[in-house]
Symmetry: C2
Subunit: 220 residues, 2 copies
């Protein structure tokens, strides 16, 4: 009935805290680049765009505490957060759907900068299969499971049209990926044990439009 | 001391509800395409990927109520949500930063599908200015304010490197855009009255990595 300490710990960290950790890591990276050795919660929070109380609470949930009058040890805290996020080793990513967005993501420098390497590209379109993007040859959808296993990818990005996304998602789950980032404008179902995050770019603009519309309606 | 009814109303709708409206609209669009006339909250919620109680609560906050035993009038509800989100007229978007991501966004079919038209592209790099993407000629950053006004853009997308993002954001605010969608991996400051939404693709992967890491640490 016992479970590893890490599993217990993982469950106890609220998802909202986890979602803010990459921002803290980014802020720490900025400070390291500037040669800063220690930083107050105020400085760190400012760089991360959160309130200092929020940052202190989040970090204390991760077991990290600043020293009174000194603040946080920038290098040590960065190493700790990297370990917590599992970034001490490179994570391997497969992108499914090599249209405009898929190609841009394959070339996106923000991924390797953050510990992710795109190792495979997959598409259903015979006209796209065999073409080369970012140094990788696009492989056919039928071989998705083999590609994921051969390349030891644990994370997948779905950049397919909405209609294809659930089928691709099911294939990825079956192939054994543990995390999926979907750009398809529709909700996807994944089994327990697989993490799904969705970014719907059209929805983001629609939410901005709502505010714009309210403002103009209100005559401001 | 009085304020327009719409302004009062806008304040009373929780941001989380607003963020779910595009999903409901998407679900309604699917049903319209299938020729469905009425739909229960269960069907709609299933398509939108939320719980039926959540959907009923959100829609009732918007003043929309289903009829018992009949459900929601699909066409009427769609028209109502489009009006609420201000999608009855096209919204004009400028993209700043025409690298891989900016180019992909300029060509992204998910924007026109959702009521947004990319009308202008702007970049700081003289090698990029004057080139053509998606039928638009890239204009120089120094002319950003003029571009925004001339093209009557109200929404902007920032797809620049992190270092340039706050300066671009400030220029956009000054030029009068009301909403900004940023892909820059750093927090940005905007004044009250301007909406900012941020999508940090690297952070999304890091959050997935956290779960992957916890799972493998726990030996599952």
């Amino acid at each position: 009935m016992s479970e590893p300490a890490e599993a217990r710990e993982a469950r106890s960290v609220p998802p909202a805290t986890i979602a803010r950790l990459p921002g803290y890591l980014r802020a720490l990276g900025t400070l390291v680049a500037r040669g800063v050795v220690t930083a107050s919660s105020g400085v760190l929070a400012g760089l991360a765009g959160v309130r200092p109380e929020q940052l202190r609470k989040d970090l204390s949930l991760m077991g990290a505490h600043g020293r009174r009058g000194v603040g946080y040890d920038v290098q040590a805290l960065r190493a700790e957060l990297e370990a917590t996020l599992g970034l001490t080793r490179e994570r391997r990513v497969v992108i499914v759907g090599v249209g405009n967005l898929g190609r841009a993501l394959a070339r996106y420098s923000g991924f390797p900068d953050r510990g992710f390497v795109v190792v495979g590209l997959v598409d259903a379109d015979p006209a796209v299969v065999g073409t080369r993007t970012a140094g990788l040859v696009v492989e056919p959808l039928e071989e998705l499971a083999g590609v994921v296993r051969r390349l030891e990818a644990t994370i997948a990005v779905i950049a397919t049209p909405a209609e294809a996304a659930q089928d691709v998602c099911d294939r990825l789950v079956e192939a054994g990926v543990s995390g999926i980032l979907s750009f398809a404008p529709r909700p996807l179902r994944v089994p327990v044990g697989v993490d799904l995050r969705s970014v719907d770019l059209g929805s983001e603009l629609q939410i901005l439009a709502f505010h714009d519309h309210r403002r103009s309606s209100a005559g401001r």
